[in-house]
Symmetry: C2
Subunit: 237 residues, 2 copies
DNA sequence: GGCCGTCTGTGCGCTGGAGCACATATGTGC
DNA sequence: GCACATATGTGCTCCAGCGCACAGACGGCC
């Protein structure tokens, strides 16, 4: 993670973008822009966090890793959210693991500052809680999707959720890592991705996925994607 | 749902039990005791809720039902929590479905009262948020468990989580309903429950499950149970 | 250009759980 | 105590996804 000096961050994060001007102006000096690289661990399970992060172009996955090493994603946060909700929810330590899924930037804020602002009970608190509510929906839907839907449907969900959170049509991510996210075998991702390539929805070359035809992905995806998207739009749109 | 007149509720709910005496005394007149019967729907997906509920002896499951009718549980709430978190998180409508999994009582509070109390930012808010954080862990773990663990392991998790939230060793629940909760086939539950009976962990007769040997269940359950339990104890213990 | 590490594609056999069919057991009401 | 609805037990077949093995294919580096 690298920290910029004298940052002039745009309102690249939707949560911060919701704030009234005065509140935003007050918070601005307390935000620092940082860069995350692919695969960087934002925090570990049970870890302490000194900052919360408001991604602007980065995407961060929330993962849980089992004792035997297998893992699965429970949610992902981009420019529509915040990483480190336990800091204002009161947990202190993090109940999961956060890994940068797509390199990019974020704005960070000291935990103490966040907590003080949160305690003031203004719009900031309001939007942080609404985001948390949306995240709960995302995690819930992941739970249900894991139980009931095929790898191909879930891959589509994952691609669409990620695509919604990056500015380009290209995702940098190997099939191996996607498999870890989805909690499935790498080969399973290969065949599912192969089918999506066959119908021209994506192209996949050594860790570079191009979204060629979103429409096709949306036809293949399970309802979970739309439920999550609708809820985010409703709560934060 | 039946409402008691002139209730004299004990601090049967751990969340309310956390409150300082003065805060509890103030809230007491605003609480009404209600009875829930097995299978009763507390709220539907997308529905509006006029009250939040603090279970004392009832258990309520949070479910999501797919378009094709299949469903799965994402979490459950007993005397350690509150049903209707969307009311203070800001969602308004409920992103899931809540069904009474074990008949019993709860204390209800008008949504408006809850929201006003919450906005005051005192201990009540504090504990509601900590509970929500614990619930997020539970939902997350359900997501991972759905992906990675066997029906038998999940059945054990479900039995233990339920057992922790009722005063007796008997659970009233058919295999059919458990199957809906876990998002698996009824026959799958029959087989798994059969194995647990064979080793003497439970006995199962027409909707009446007796927990005979918790120890055995804890040996069979996946790590998910302990993770969730630890997090609830840590946050609310 | 050649080497090597990483990433992707493919082909097994195996297994857990789905879907279906049906046999049996246990309440409940008449 | 009989009839019937409900709950549970059991035995198939089928298939998605796992685990494993290995064959390309691409890309960076010397």
């Amino acid at each position: 993670m690298s920290v910029s000096i004298n940052p002039v961050p745009p309102r690249g994060n939707r949560l911060l973008g919701k704030l009234p001007d005065e509140e935003y102006e007050r918070l601005l000096p307390k935000l620092q822009e940082v860069s995350f690289s692919l695969g960087e661990v934002v925090y570990e399970f049970g870890g302490h966090l000194d900052y919360v992060f408001f991604p602007t172009t980065a995407i961060v996955s929330l993962l849980y890793t089992m004792e035997n090493g297998t893992s699965a994603e429970m949610g992902l946060t981009g420019n529509d959210g915040v990483v480190g909700i336990a800091l204002f929810m009161g947990g202190g330590t993090m109940p999961n693991r956060a890994v940068v899924q797509s390199a990019g930037r974020a704005l960070r804020m000291k935990a103490k500052v966040l907590q003080d602002e949160f305690a003031m009970g203004g719009k900031f608190q309001h939007w942080l809680l609404r985001y948390t509510q949306a995240l709960i929906t995302q995690i819930s839907q992941t739970a249900v999707c894991n139980r009931l839907h095929s790898v191909e449907e879930q891959l589509c969900r994952w691609l669409l959720l990620s695509h919604d959170r990056v500015p380009s049509d290209e995702l940098i991510m190997t099939q191996e890592l996607i498999a870890d996210m989805l909690g499935v075998r790498r080969e399973g991702v290969t065949v599912a991705a192969g089918r999506l390539q066959d119908v021209g929805a994506i192209s996949y070359v050594r860790g570079h996925i191009k979204i060629l035809d979103r429409q096709k992905l949306e036809e293949t995806v399970c309802e979970c994607y739309r439920v999550v998207k609708n809820e985010f739009d409703r709560l934060l749109g």
